[in-house]
Symmetry: C2
Subunit: 214 residues, 2 copies
DNA sequence: GTCTATACTGTGATAGAC
DNA sequence: GTCTATCACAGTATAGAC
């Protein structure tokens, strides 16, 4: 019996690991299918039965992986904010050229937000009735926001009013683009203007000319 | 027979008028109940059965007044933009003091937009899956937008890029307020700053001091 | 332990009697 | 115009097959 435990435990743990990996893979497939359905028919335009069919399951089986439909949205919410955090990592900050840095960051964020309406709706609006992100999902958005504040602090922007003004301007541009000219560039063209106007407001001097590579 | 026609027609027309008035009153009551339900349970948080009960009818009877649930949203959409048009009429424009004028207009619009989340969602976001305003409802929003452009033209702002920037900033402030600090004033406090920043951008000089009343 | 089959309640919408 | 009855489908839940 002692023997069996010694040999049995590791292999059963391995089996657990394999099972967990498969569960995670299925969860991931479900979430990816949910994004795809949302893109095609809107965030609230699909049913659990459709979603299950998309991944080769029956609807009730989804409850083995998610507690409810809201839990699926919760995972998607989490994924969206995590993706934004990962995008933020690639943002090159040049403290000598804050205007150019903000311009690059604004365009990067704008593209991220407007290339997928449903993701913007899930992350920044309250489209799903009764949906509140779980503490874990909310934490993902907080992490992203803290990264944002840290990066702005590196540029010398620490006034909360300035940070809030920036998020308002950026989300306003993206929101108008998605609501009134989806697929177009009517508000995208204004991103540079908005950055300039914001930089003037916080008192940035003009950037020095970019250094020439020899 | 000729006699009966002569006496009958006017009175039947009167009857029609009365009936139409009662139909309109019922329609109005349904829309008002829909707003109230939306405030309580969200724009997509109520059913036709609930709505019918609220006005003392059965659900199928609603179809005598509206073609579908979307048609009810359409009437609400129309009502929202009409209300904004009426608010715009009260906006006092002082062409000698454009900054103060824009400040007043921005606060007026911000209050209108943020005092009722569901109205903002219906008018400015795409919360209801599959809902597209009818041509008539869309016309109401166009009228409101044309009034806005006319008023801005009176202040000397005609560049489409400036107009779009203004709508982006305002809707961004309201959107952030509703999404991240509902009921608070975190972004409302930034309205004055935003107006200043916009006025600087379009090149308005400082307003002259207000004239003193003797 | 994972899935199927099935059921419960509620949804928007329609048909037809009165 | 208002109702009852009904439809297909939704989210959700559970019982039970394997």
């Amino acid at each position: 019996m002692f023997d069996e435990t010694e040999r049995g435990l590791p292999s059963s743990r391995l089996r657990d690991r394999v099972r967990e990996a498969r569960v995670d893979a299925t969860r991931e497939a479900v979430i990816e299918a949910a994004w795809e359905l949302s893109r095609r028919t809107g965030l609230t335009g699909w049913s659990l039965r459709q979603l299950a069919r998309e991944v080769g399951l029956k609807a009730p089986t989804l409850y083995a992986y998610f507690d409810s439909k809201h839990a699926i949205f919760d995972a998607m919410f989490c994924e969206g904010w995590t993706a934004l955090s990962e995008l933020a990592v690639t943002w090159p900050i040049d403290t000598d050229r804050p205007r150019a840095s903000l311009r690059a960051g604004a365009h990067s964020w704008f593209t991220f937000s407007t290339t997928e309406l449903v993701r913007f709706q899930l992350m920044n609006q309250r489209v799903i009735n009764g949906f509140e992100p779980s503490p874990e999902a909310y934490a993902a958005s907080t992490i992203s926001y803290e990264r944002f504040t840290a990066q702005f602090a590196a540029l010398g922007i620490v006034d909360p009013a300035h940070l809030d003004l920036w998020t308002a301007i950026c989300s306003g541009l993206a929101g108008q683009q998605l609501a009134n000219d989806p697929g177009g560039t009517r508000w995208e063209r204004l991103v540079d203007d908005a950055v300039t106007l914001f930089c003037d407001h916080v008192g940035f001097p003009p950037d020095p000319p970019p250094v020439e590579e020899p």
